[in-house]
Assembly symmetry: C2
Homo-oligomer: 209 residues x 2
DNA sequence: AGGATGAGTTAACACCGTTAACTTAACACC
DNA sequence: GGTGTTAAGTTAACGGTGTTAACTCATCCT
């Protein structure tokens, strides 16, 4: 196909076309198993054309994750409508786990794969749009619970609390995702049961009696 | 070097030579960044010779993990000497976290990378040597606490409890490992603090008051 | 003595991410 | 309206990857 000068809109459109095709392939076949050529073929372009829109494969991967993080944040935003602080915090945890288990490969890309350090510019961007950031919403919800004095009195670091809740949910989800097919020699209990117990443990461990 | 018929012992020796070189490289540079040729060069053999001892790269990776799992199990075995059940269970958790944080790339290989389904034969082997298995030791420790009636009365599934403890520790460690360099936009609290709080939460959530 | 085996070799294949060099359509400007 | 510049595509190529095939030979078995 002969080249054409594109408007900013068309340019963005192709970029999201690449992102969508890349995500679909990455998510179903795994990052390492998908080649740039394959992604390009999927959208009917040559492989090298992708490099006009992304620096390299890592950059494409990061863009995908960034997009999906925004999607997660937007489902979080819906949950934030709940007014009762504790209830809201619990609902966030459930939404998180639900996302992880229903999009496991997505989740692996986003939270189980280390991405090389972002550029300073990208960090700046993220900070400016932090209201779209899922962690920010979690922290907000935790802060509300804290201000309602519902946490145990000795707990007074909101970041620490939020990160512990995150870690608890992440632990169940990540372990499930990496070990689900493998490690059949362990008598795994049902993942929903494990999530539920983790939830209970977190609440009993963090909230006032 | 001309070929030579080897005794069973020499054969195993070369196998562990490959495993050790492979682990060293994998752990310092990451699995995907290390080629079979590089491993071979390290030990002074040609790349293809590795294929006489392992089916493919995945197989080598699995063998490395299997070896290291045994190593983890042996540090667990030392902890098992503690007699007081609750104390012993806590010590296991700390040993686990200590292992994860002091050998992060090791840990990533073992618990954060999905390995394709083991062959039936390998599963059999693992089951037979389950006393060397780290999870088995955790489960044993949890069972002892359970039998001492120290868990909350409504908790009566030992596997579920063990897996929840595992998930909690794993969550903190895994999140730390994947997010340590990246995600500088989050105000991470100290990882030791996070571990400590997770520990406290797990105990308060699981044990009788 | 002589064939079978097994542990090593080199050569080669198909594919990968990425770069370089090229083509051509659209725009900016005199 | 010609003309240079730029943007967005292309094909060709490079070096590297996991892996397989074909080949040596030293050793063992009979």
């Amino acid at each position: 196909m002969p080249p054409k000068v594109k408007t900013e809109h068309e340019k963005q459109q192709l970029k999201t076309l690449i992102i969508d095709a890349g995500r679909e392939l990455f998510v179903t076949k795994g990052v390492e198993a998908v080649s740039m050529r394959e992604i390009a073929k999927q959208i009917g372009y040559s492989a090298t054309s992708i490099y006009h829109h992304f620096n390299d494969k890592q950059d494409l991967l990061r863009s995908i994750c960034h997009t999906d993080l925004a999607a997660l944040a937007s489902t979080f935003a819906a949950v934030m409508q709940i007014t009762e602080p504790v209830e809201r915090m619990i609902a966030l945890g459930k939404a998180y786990a639900n996302f992880a288990l229903s999009h496991p490969n997505h989740y692996r890309l986003m939270f189980m794969t280390p991405h090389p350090a972002d550029t300073a510019q990208e960090i700046q961007t993220k900070q400016n749009y932090s209201e779209q950031d899922a962690y920010f919403l979690l922290k907000t919800a935790v802060t509300a619970v804290y201000e309602a004095k519902r946490f145990k009195p000795e707990l007074n670091d909101v970041n620490l609390i939020a990160q512990t809740i995150w870690a608890g949910m992440h632990g169940v989800c990540a372990l499930h995702i990496t070990m689900a097919q493998d490690a059949s020699w362990i008598e795994w209990s049902d993942v929903q049961q494990r999530l539920q117990l983790m939830h209970m443990v977190l609440m009993r461990g963090l909230l006032r009696d």
